[in-house]
Amino acid sequence: MKRLMIGNEAIARGAFEAGATVAAAYPGTPSTEIVSNFAGFEGVYAEWAPNEKVALEVGVGSSIGGARTLVAMKHVGVNVAADPLYTFAYTGVNGGLVLISADDPGMHSSQNEQDNRGYGRFAKIPVIEPADSQEAKDFTRMAFDISERFDTPVMLRITTRLAHSQTLVEEGEVQKPELKEYKKNPAKYVMLPGFARGRHVEVEKRMLKLKEFAEETDLNRIEWGEKNLGIITSGVVYQYVKEVLPDASILKLGLSNPLPEKLIESFASEVDRLLVVEELEPVIEEQIRALGIKVEGKELLSIVGEYSPEMLAACLAGETAGQSFSLESQIPARPPLMCPGCPHRGVFHTVKKMKLVVTGDIGCYTLGALPPLQGMDSCICMGASIGTALGMEKARGEEFAKKVVAVIGDSTFVHSGITPLIDIVYNQGKSTVIILDNDTTAMTGHQDHPATGLTIRKEPTRKLDIEALVRAIGIKNVRVVDPLNLKELETALAEELARNEASVIIAKRPCVLLEREAAQKRYYVDNELCTGCKLCIKIGCTGIYYLDEDKKAVINPNTCVSCGLCPQVCKFDAIKVVEG
């Protein structure tokens, strides 16, 4: 029986069917559900690694150790893992290794929309692109065979629409896992220059073999239609092409690196007009043009953002889709928000109030950059906040440093905040760092990490003590505060910023979405005392709103979780506890 699965679940299933027994990942939308699903299978090992580099390195060890191994991350995670990736491409595998790169065209939940097919060409590894969940499962399974047959890690590149769309999947039989023999082989696995030179030659030979394979594999297929237009496409975009141009001839590339040059040449020779439809970068198009084949692509279709059927219809068929009621432009926007009771709110309220320069980082707390809090000056990539703060200090001097604070989440700190903190100590920075310890990786859906003390399967493990770690690094001034106690937080910040030494403030309170006890008290706004000054509204909480007719603030009992933040902000003590 066929079953609906999101692409990510199908990938986990495909790896399981292929006999993979080890999986490692660091969470990141849209990749997270791959390894969390894999962890649900019996007889396999799965882990959340502290970051993507470690995840891939665990994968490398597992592969050399002989097991089929799945490693998954979002597109920017591959940047973090790029160092081991490039050299692992030289050593090749023992047990097959499949690396899932989950790209995010349109940046639904990301800081950039890089096209990771580029990594395939750069690292010289095969890139496979499924177009629905069935293919996601089947191609993952095939990717393990390809990995072992050609002695290379394989990248399975997906995008958000594949990862998070449910389509029907027919499950296959589960192959019995086989642990390959482990043999010491320094010439293959010790990448000293002398050995690596030999391996590079092997990589080039492998690419030639893969090129031949690309010509014959059924990962690539032609669907003949009318011959006045031939379209070359890959991934989920194939579905939009089928929808919008059902009569065109299509060369669907399941293996998009290396390209099947002969197949492309013969396809091109049979159609009057050749067009490449690919989201983001013209990776396929440029290679086809380099073959001397006349081809169209990005002059018709955007290099920016996610594709959609209506976008293809407009660009390729000249259709303008949809009715235009144009209501959208007439109504208020609905941006995402921190939840009522979110501990991060206390921190951003305070840094804004103190007019600090905030080098930010990535997580739910990045929402603190949006109105009304607007308490963030920079956000680049995970872990960047701390080094950025040190750089600002070195550029503008120590006096400026007294106004600069780095803000970083607990999961992000463990991911890549530790080494820059060591830099602050080593190079005698005076910066202040706030670690927002909400005991989870909230942004991506509440995954555990080393400092939560639980594994991916919620089994207890040794809990990383962030406070002890920070002290061990050499930070002398470390304090733990409650971010929803505004006085305590502000005092701590003022004192630590004034110091001529580096400090770390750990703002500790669990994410409000984690299981919590029902609130003991309820708040209301005393209309006699409320002056309508809107200070409480400026914390940006859906638990309290401003009623224009009355010119007063009102608590929304359906959303308020009684975190007690707004009463602390009110200058007139108008927000009170309901008695009884």
Binding site: H108, H164, E310, S324, I331, P332, Y545
Partner: protein, 195 residues
């Protein structure tokens, strides 16, 4: 042009349960042996932002996302969100709106006004508009959170999904302790739609 494909756009605010509803509709379509695709939203937008799930079923479905102007039904958990996505509606399509408001930030902060008459404005633009007090009905069935299933009831009747199939899917996908309330809410929803 649509080869008998049904396109349903489910819109709401992050946290309102649009995901579960789209999964139930999809499950019904699977039970009825259709090809089905569902596009979901995970991640950032779930933090109280606008969310859209899309369900498409029919003999053969390619794209998991609905083309603008192709939605047979827009099922809106919140009034503003119906307005936001209205251009996706097919000419002659139907809008089912929960007569409930969730204020977005610009309204909460008093910067902008919530257009209170938005549901009526939609009704003025789209003849086939059904406005339902789903939250109130769900509350009277025992839990305001079952508003999504009230809407599902209206939808299933409107697009002729067999009652028994939908109930089967609800039984499969709703936690046992919430089942009675959900089934009651679903049946109330079905009663609301009469042609």
């Amino acid at each position: 042009m649509d080869k008998g494909i049904k396109n349903i756009l489910i819109v709401g605010v992050g946290g309102q349960g649009t995901l579960l509803t789209s999964r139930i509709i999809a499950q019904v379509a699977v039970q009825m042996s259709y090809d089905v695709k569902v596009s979901e939203v995970h991640g950032m937008a779930q933090r109280g932002g606008s969310v859209v799930s899309q369900v498409r079923y029919g003999e053969k479905v390619y794209s998991p996302i609905i083309k603008k102007g192709d939605a047979d039904v827009i099922l809106a958990f919140e009034k503003l969100e119906a307005a936001r996505m209205l251009d996706y509606l097919k000419p002659g399509g139907m809008v089912i709106i929960n007569n409930d408001r969730v204020d977005p930030l610009p309204v909460m902060s008093g910067k902008e006004k919530y257009p209170e008459d938005i549901a009526e404005r939609i009704k003025g633009l789209v003849e086939n508009t059904v406005i339902v007090d789903a939250s109130k009905i769900a509350e009277s069935c025992g839990n305001i959170k079952a508003a999504n299933v009230v809407l599902l009831g209206v939808l299933s009747k409107a697009i002729s999904l067999p009652e028994a199939e939908v109930e089967k899917a609800i039984q499969e996908m709703v936690p046992p302790r919430a089942l009675d309330v959900n089934l009651a809410a679903f049946r109330e929803g079905r009663k609301l739609f009469t042609v």
